[in-house]
Each structure stands twice: as C-alpha cells, then as structure tokens.
Symmetry: C2
Subunit: 129 residues, 2 copies
DNA sequence: TATACATCCTGTAGTTACTACAGGATCAAG
DNA sequence: CTTGATCCTGTAGTAACTACAGGATGTATA
C-alpha cells in the first residue's frame, strides 16, 4: 500500500486529479491510514493507469468510467466496449472533418492578404455583410 | 436602432452571448433607451457579425477581439491580422495531427476486438502494465 | 380596458476536466 | 529539533458560453 504521491508517479495521474476522480466517484474511495492519509493498492494504481490511457485516447471521463467498469466485470463485455470506442472514433472523425473545413476556410481567408493594397483583404472578408 | 433580440437575429449571435460580450468588454456598451433596454446600431450589428465569423473559424474570443480591434483601426493592420491567423492555422494543424494520432491508436486498439475470444482485447490493452 | 404573451432586465449558477491555491497537519531525515 | 517534503480539506479559477430565477415592461387582441 502506497501513498497518493507514489500512486501518482506510478500511474501518471496527477495528485489533485486522483482526488478529483475520487470525489466524482470515478474510482472507489481508497483505504486510509491511521493518520487519515490515502493508501493505494496495485489494483488502485491499475485503475488510475487505465483511466489515464483512456483519457490520452481522447475518451471523455464518463466514457473512461464506463470502460473501466466494463473492464472489471467478470466477463468483460466486449460488445459494449466496442460500441463506446466506435462512438468515440466517430466523434474523432467528425472533429477532424471540422478542422479540415476550418483550415480550408483559413487558407481562403488569408489568400490575398498582404497583397500590398491599403486594405487588408482578410479583415474585409470578415466584415462583409 | 434595434433591440437586442433583433440584433441577435441579424448577427446570428445569441442574446445571452451578446450580453456576455458586453460584460467581457469584447464589444462597447450599447446605448440604452429610456426604459433601460439596449439599443444597437448597424455598426454594433456589424461587430457582432464579425465576431461570429471569427468564432466560427475557430479563433478564440481574445483573438477575435484583437482582429475586431485591428479591423476598426484607421489603416487596418494587415501584418498583425495575418500573424493572428497564422498562429491559429498552426494550432488547427496541430489539433488535426493529434486527432490523426488518436484515430490510428483507436484503430489499433479495436483491431482484434470481438474476435470471439472470451477476453476483450481492447480492454486488455487498456489494462496492460 | 383587461389580459395574455413576448421581450427585456440583472444576477447567479452550471457545463468539462482538471489545476491551483490557502491554511494547516504530519512525517522523515539530519 | 528544525527543515523540507508530503499530505489533508475546501474553495476558486479556467473558456465561452448557456440556462435559469425573478421581475419589469411592451405590444397585440378581445
């Protein structure tokens, strides 16, 4: 059993974030030492690492929580997990499409900018009625 | 001079958002009628529309404010405007690269999922030490 | 004129997922 | 016994809105 600082180091999840996850019920409340300090087992650290991986993959915290719960079931529910991943993948694709659109629009906007004319064509375009 | 609802309709910026922009000093305080209601001119509406366009292009509110100010200068500063746009374009590109990385990781993660085995390979990968 | 409904006002709280304190207690090492 | 690290609780801040609550006013219809 280790203290929160060590659990943070081993999992890559910040101390404040660990306490935040506890408050939010994302992870169970850990044991406490006689001095009221939190004590974490290797299972607890595993959960934190799991959550870190999910977050790094862009899953929302609720999604990460669902995946963690699925992962801890007796026969981990692959179908449900896959569904969560599919939804997330779709949202990643959608964001990417949106960014592509944005980049094209930005390119268009600045195309004739700094052409030497007195008026900035970019700002003009933004002002257009 | 029109009321806030009409200004919202003409600019595409929500009523609450207009008041928010005013509180934040993004747009100047509008005139008030005798009954204390806000009154907007076509110039005010133009500002709101300008901000809406910037936000739709993904500029942050501070960036949008800077662009609006540049746009209202006597000789609109094209160089500065272009610099803001370049910074934004770079951040758009960076986000896109990040999303590409995410998508690849998600594909890898779910590749052998639902392969009929008892254990979900995706959840297994997320658990890996 | 009465009434209903739309629109406006101010001010506050909620959203996401943390992060950063403040103010204090406890621990480990020299 | 002091110093510095670590821990505790609780609160507030971040970005850019959005959603009320509670009340005042305006407008159109019967």
């Amino acid at each position: 059993m280790i203290a929160i600082g060590e659990a943070s180091r081993q999992s890559g999840v910040g101390i404040e974030t660990i306490r935040f996850y506890e408050r939010e019920g994302v992870v169970p409340k850990p044991d406490r030492a006689a001095n009221n300090r939190r004590l974490y087992s290797s299972v607890d650290v595993g959960r934190l690492r799991f959550l870190k991986r999910c977050r790094d993959l862009g899953f929302s915290l609720p999604e990460a929580k669902v995946l963690l719960e699925l992962s801890e079931q007796q026969h981990s529910d692959c179908q449900s997990a896959k569904r969560v991943a599919e939804i997330h993948r779709a949202s990643v694709r959608q964001k990417m499409a949106e960014l592509r659109r944005l980049e094209a629009a930005l390119n268009e906007l600045t195309k004739n900018c700094s052409n030497g004319s007195l008026e900035c064509t970019m700002l003009e375009k933004l002002r257009e009625s």
